[in-house]
């Protein structure tokens, strides 16, 4: 469409990674990664450091060449296209603004390199971009005269000025303080909605990934551990790594005792029986498994209240801490310690060493494959996109 029109809204590109592999010496940084990104989607690559997310981004940008596999942009292979011909925008972790150019010159850089716009058209486009990032009044400043947040916005404007169909962001908010980071998250989402570009966003901050993304790709040891919407990842993690990596969790070793219909029953080490809804991994009676319960799904009562469809465990309060809106508790159940997070009002009457009862719904329990089998499940999750 009107790709270089002054106010034309470009569509996002469709990005496809096919069995992408990159090794540095003997270590594989990216191992057989396949991913489909539909047009206009905001996708986060989330993972601990060394999980391959930045390497994946550098492969898409063209700063690294893949050892094998392919990168398709709108169904066209770009694996052999040099970075400057890929028409991709990128925001770097350190912003990487050109220190010898003013804000306007920085923003205009991609236009000078990529387009043959007239001076007047360029000026118009730069003004439009600066307005989008709300920095219209700072065009003649130099980057060093700006705050971190402002530099961040300039980097956004520069990345978007030539209307790229794909925008790469490499931990762009890493250097900002918490408050500014949250403000910029909202800002980036607003800009994404208004330009419609496909975004690949690398981060190790899970809350950032969960709040901003349409789709999150969790990476672990050079592979994709799970792909899904933020809700799906948090509420239905496919494996132990994702369950552990995202949010707080209670992960209890167990043995499956019965599978019937959509119900699974598992026995904890101390003999307590837990009911769970059937998930991707059901296993069969006798299998080892791990039970996942999120702390915020639990209710804590001083009195025993058995209800239909509720699991119940008795325990003693080992630790209790006040967090303003919530109480966090460590409850000893047998030899285990379970974390629970309850609303402020529910915390009354609980004291250190006192007996309490933990209850939570059957559906809020997930059964996962144990650790030694987790790697294999990650390998298959990557293939089954």
């Amino acid at each position: 469409m009107n790709e270089f029109g002054v106010s034309g809204k470009p569509n996002g590109a469709q990005l496809r990674l096919q069995n992408l592999t990159k090794a540095f010496g003997p270590t594989k940084a990216v191992d057989e990664i396949s991913l489909d990104v539909p047009t206009g989607t905001f996708v986060s690559l989330l993972g601990p450091s060394g999980s391959g997310k930045t390497t994946t981004l550098n492969l898409i940008a063209g700063f690294l060449a893949p050892d094998s596999g392919d990168i398709l942009l709108d169904e066209r292979s770009i694996a052999d296209v040099p970075p400057h011909k890929r028409n991709i925008g990128m925001v770097f972790q350190s912003y990487s603004l050109f220190p010898h150019m003013t804000v306007s010159e920085n923003v205009g850089f991609p236009l000078r390199m990529r387009t043959s716009l007239s001076r007047e058209q360029s000026r118009h486009r730069i003004a439009e971009m600066l307005e989008l990032v709300q920095l219209s009044h700072l065009g003649s400043r130099y980057p060093r005269q700006l705050s971190g947040g402002q530099q961040q916005r300039v980097a956004m404007a520069r990345a978007l000025v030539s209307h790229p169909r794909l925008l790469l962001m490499d931990e762009p908010l890493g250097a900002l303080d918490k408050k500014l980071r949250e403000q910029m998250q909202v800002e980036i989402k607003r800009i994404h909605r208004s330009v419609g570009t496909t975004v690949i966003y690398v981060t190790h901050d899970q809350s950032e990934a969960l709040t901003m993304s349409d789709v999150v790709v969790v990476m672990h040891q050079a592979r994709i551990a799970q792909i899904g919407t933020p809700r799906a990842l948090y509420e239905a993690p496919a494996n132990l790594f994702v369950a552990d990596f995202l949010g707080d969790s209670n992960l209890l070793p167990a043995r499956i005792v019965a599978v019937s219909g959509d119900q699974v029953q598992a026995e904890l080490a101390n003999g307590d029986i837990i009911h769970a809804a059937r998930s991707t991994f059901a296993g069969s009676a006798g299998d080892r498994a791990v039970v996942l319960i999120r702390p915020e799904d639990m209710s804590v009562r001083v009195n025993r209240e058995q209800g239909d469809g509720l699991n119940l465990l008795a325990g003693t309060v080992k630790e209790i801490s006040y967090h303003g809106d919530t109480f966090k508790l460590d409850v000893g159940v047998g030899k285990q310690s379970l974390k629970a997070k309850v609303a402020r009002g529910e915390g009354t009457g609980m004291e250190l060493g006192g007996q309490v009862f933990l209850t939570w719904k059957f559906e809020a329990t997930r059964i996962l494959r144990p650790q030694d089998e987790a790697d294999r499940s990650i390998a298959t999750a990557g293939d089954a996109r």
Partner: protein
């Protein structure tokens, strides 16, 4: 009560720590300071004093410096030679330093060794080597005659060409290393940023790397220029009297004419010129950046 007690406690703390600590830098500097004072600053002061006070106190030596056609000519030759050698060294060193910057591990180490080996060889030895290479029976002339380009040996020595050639060669390692140090501090992700936003390799160099390397070029230029101003052995060995530079003149005044006040005055002027250049540099680029200090 409390208000009065608190500052006392704080003063106490402030005194307790530094009094011992503050001595350490002074102690560390002391040997070097003593050495410099006795063997550099005192002779320097004596030299300046002698330039003024030979027969009573007079500026005569200085008026000779600025009025005599000989000194004017030597000064012009000195500045001109130093400037051309500096530019030559910069032009040759820049690509070399750039290759060093973009190459990794082994290649970089190998190039650095080849850059630095000549640096460790004495200036006199290197100047003599050029004498051997460029002489009438030298390697260059023999080769040219051998392949039949010329029939008689070319006059390659004792002219501005031989002096400049050797000076550039002698200055090249320092220029390269200084430029390399400056280039290393250019953030490579800026080049990546230029490329992803549409710049080809050459455009990224021209629009981002080169402008950012200019302070390093100016810095290396000034450093090398100051050094070149004081060259003595090379023009003496490889040049004719017409290529005489100020350091040679000072030597002649001091050791042959025994006019120590005049030599001292010339030395003082050279000192003022070089210090001024260093001060200007420090004002605009800050000297410690040359040695890898942080940017302002």
């Amino acid at each position: 009560m409390t208000a009065a007690a608190e500052p006392t406690a704080r003063t106490h703390l402030r005194l307790a720590v530094p009094s011992a600590v503050r001595l350490i830098p002074a102690l560390l500097l002391l040997p070097c300071l003593l050495w410099i004072s006795f063997f550099f600053l005192v002779p320097l002061a004596l030299m300046c004093w002698r330039s003024l006070a030979s027969d009573g106190f007079a500026f005569e030596t200085y008026s000779v410096l600025f009025t005599s056609p000989l000194y004017t000519k030597v000064m012009i030759t000195t500045v001109k030679t130093a400037a051309i050698a500096t530019v030559g060294a910069l032009v040759l060193a820049y690509p070399l330093a750039y290759v060093l910057t973009i190459s990794g591990g082994k290649v970089r180490g190998l190039i650095l060794v080849f850059v630095l080996i000549p640096y460790w060889v004495d200036i006199i030895v290197r100047s003599f080597s050029w004498l051997i290479l460029l002489g009438d029976n030298g390697l260059v002339n023999k080769a040219l005659i051998g392949i039949g380009v010329v029939s008689a040996p070319l006059q390659l020595l004792y002219n501005p060409f031989s002096v400049l050639l050797a000076m550039v060669q002698i200055l090249l390692p320092l220029t390269t290393v200084t430029l390399f140090g400056a280039m290393l501090r250019i953030d490579r992700t800026l080049i990546a940023a230029a490329k992803i936003h549409g710049a080809s390799e050459w455009q990224a160099f021209r629009t981002v790397f080169f402008p950012l390397s200019l302070p390093g070029v100016y810095g290396a230029g000034l450093l090398v220029f100051v050094l070149a101003l004081g060259f003595y052995v090379t023009p003496a060995l490889l040049g004719s009297p017409r290529e005489t530079m100020i350091a040679q003149t000072i030597m002649v005044e001091a050791s042959q004419l025994l006019d120590w006040p005049q030599a001292s005055a010339a030395g003082a002027v050279l000192l003022v010129i070089t210090t001024t250049i260093a001060a200007i540099y420090n004002r605009y680029f800050s000297l410690d950046r040359l040695w890898g200090g942080s940017d302002k």
